[in-house]
């Protein structure tokens, strides 16, 4: 099984108590006059990723999943905590980090410079990082495009001449041009239509096998998570509330939030009958994080302790971690 396999390896990527706080006011003057609060976008994340696994990071908007990605990529400096990539901190790698860690952004077209041709965008990456000799750059660019099922003719195109799916494939090609071993995919298909989405996902999975990639897949689409990931981490207000193997999380979610999230997604089959948990209220802003368990104001199963004491992320069994005082139980029956 997968969990046995992963124990054999050292983590590829590890974060220890990773935190990122922002100030709610940027201007010095307002901060002095009105005062500012800390926005705890990412608040103590411990995450380990093992070779060639797909870890899905799930959460609603504002839960801090994109901030976490940016921290790992070094686009933001953490307030506290540590990141290790193959046992070394990102800083030790310098510009080399680009050849180890890459990202596919959500807005495919937007992450391509509108004034540059596809060919020059890809060749630039190869050139700057000296992947191959100067005279082989053209050849290499062709093979990279071919890898994502795009022909040579796309080299002359601008991004506005590409469809959403094609643009996203160019973005993937560019990210993989440096042959990284870790790929972060930040909502890579959320801007795409269903019929295109399936192709991009299958392409990503094919490339994952070919390149032996370790993938962090950030998404809000639980359907995708089920199809492609080995493990799932569910985030709520800057913290991981549940972490475990995909099948287990989907079949036996232990955190009430995970359960509510799963039950909220409509299923394209009118014959499926299931219980739906409707959460009351909105996700609180990370500025005013509720006391105790951050989920307690919306939790249908809350008790007195939830308001006062923050639950820790504990291993229930089989590497299934839950941060809840009263995890859901499935002893009696399968839901």
């Amino acid at each position: 099984m997968f969990e046995e396999e992963i124990k054999l390896h050292n983590p590829v990527l590890k974060t220890i108590n990773l935190k990122k706080y922002f100030l709610s006011e940027k201007s010095l003057l307002t901060r002095l006059l009105v005062g500012a609060k800390w926005v705890k976008a990412v608040d103590g994340i411990n995450l380990e990723m093992y070779p060639e696994e797909v870890l899905a990071l799930v959460g609603e908007s504002g839960c801090g999943k994109t901030t976490l990605a940016k921290l790992i990529l070094g686009l933001l400096t953490p307030t506290d905590g540590k990141i290790y990539i193959y046992g070394k901190s990102p800083r030790e790698y310098g510009a080399q980090l680009a050849t180890i860690l890459q990202i596919v952004f959500q807005e495919g077209p937007a992450s391509l410079n509108p004034r540059k041709r596809v060919g020059s965008l890809i060749k630039e990456v190869i050139k700057v990082h000296k992947v191959v000799d100067v005279d082989k750059i053209d050849e290499k660019a062709n093979s990279i495009l071919e890898m994502v099922d795009l022909g040579k003719e796309f080299k002359e195109r601008f991004f506005h001449e590409l469809s959403g799916g094609q643009a996203q494939r160019v973005v993937i090609a560019r990210a993989l041009a440096l042959n990284p071993s870790i790929l972060i995919a930040d909502e890579p298909t959320s801007a795409l239509d269903v019929s295109i989405q399936a192709r991009i996902l299958n392409l990503l999975m094919r490339l994952k096998k070919e390149f032996h990639l370790t993938m962090l897949f950030i998404t809000h689409n639980l359907g995708i998570v089920r199809q492609i990931s080995n493990r799932v981490a569910v985030m709520y207000l800057g913290k991981i509330v549940e972490l475990g193997n995909t099948e287990e999380i989907f079949d036996y979610p232990r955190h009430p939030y995970t359960k509510a999230l799963l039950s909220a997604v409509p299923i394209p089959d009118p014959t499926v009958k299931r219980g739906i948990i409707v959460l009351k209220g909105e996700t609180p802003s990370p500025i005013n994080r509720p006391s105790g368990c951050a989920f307690h104001p919306r939790c249908p199963f809350k008790k007195g302790i939830c308001k006062n004491k923050e639950p820790e992320l504990l291993n229930l069994n089989n590497n299934h971690y839950v941060a809840c005082h009263f995890p859901m139980n499935y002893n009696s029956s399968k839901f």
């Binding site: 469809s163 269903v194 199809q227 409509p266 299923i267 089959d269 499926v272 409707v278």
Partner: protein
Amino acid sequence: MKINNSFLLIRNLSIYFYAKKKIIKAVDGVTLEVKKGETVGIAGESGCGKSTLARSILRLVPPPGEIVSGEILYKRSNILKINDQQLRNIRGNKISIIFQDPSIYLNPTVSIGKQICDVIMAHNNVSFKNARSKTIQLLDELEIQEPGDRFKNFPYEFSGGMKQRVLIAMAISCNPELVIADEPTTALDVTIQRQILELIKGKLIKKDSSFLFITHDLGILAEICDRIYIMYAGSIVEQAKATDLFQKPLHPYTQKLLAAIPRHDIRKELTEIKGSPPRLDNLPIGCSFYPRCDIHTEKCYQERPPLYKVDEDHFVRCYNV
């Protein structure tokens, strides 16, 4: 189709956008029917013309779009032919519409309550006081906490989900006979989407009023609709009862679309659809889906297939069924 029974009947409607040097056929010969008390869904991918179709029902097609042919019969009167006064009577009063992005449709400088009151007062001859109490009652019905206080709030003080509730309140404030919802939950988070869906199921879908729901998310339609139209490249390719559509989809596009949706309740191989949707300014002569279809024959690219009736309430635009 019988006119008598139907409540809203769109017949052979075509809407073209005239851009520089090209004609974009956003809606191309669509026939659609909504019966009284029925919940109908239109599903399709982005750019298939579903929003334009929805807007045309209230004559809200933005220029340079033009309705070039067809008719929209609402209780036997053609909405495209009535004068502005009559149209005003229908808009908001008899037929109302909810859009995807609520923030665009709310005036940021006027309080939420006032904006709903304005809608009520525009269509009913009531005093502000009555309109106000009706508004508060509506807000309460839509599960907005402390509606009396919230009345005075401005749009920026509301989250996306709350704004969508306000728009729903506006839409149902005059007890319309038909509510059109154009992707009302697409911009929202899953748990908020669920709240809005439950509201729609509980408050909007009533026995005596009809509901037209437009979305790209077939999951939502499976949950709430009686009948579903599948739109592809400006035309209807399949229409069926919700259960039939999901149990035995007939059009290759519908079949592939359903197979391409990643579902969280089962793990399966995702089927791809090759190619991408045709450009609306350059549609194939025959079936618009044939370049992506696996079972197409020679006839498919010579002539556009008609809408075949395969069953009671089940129509397919395909030669090969």
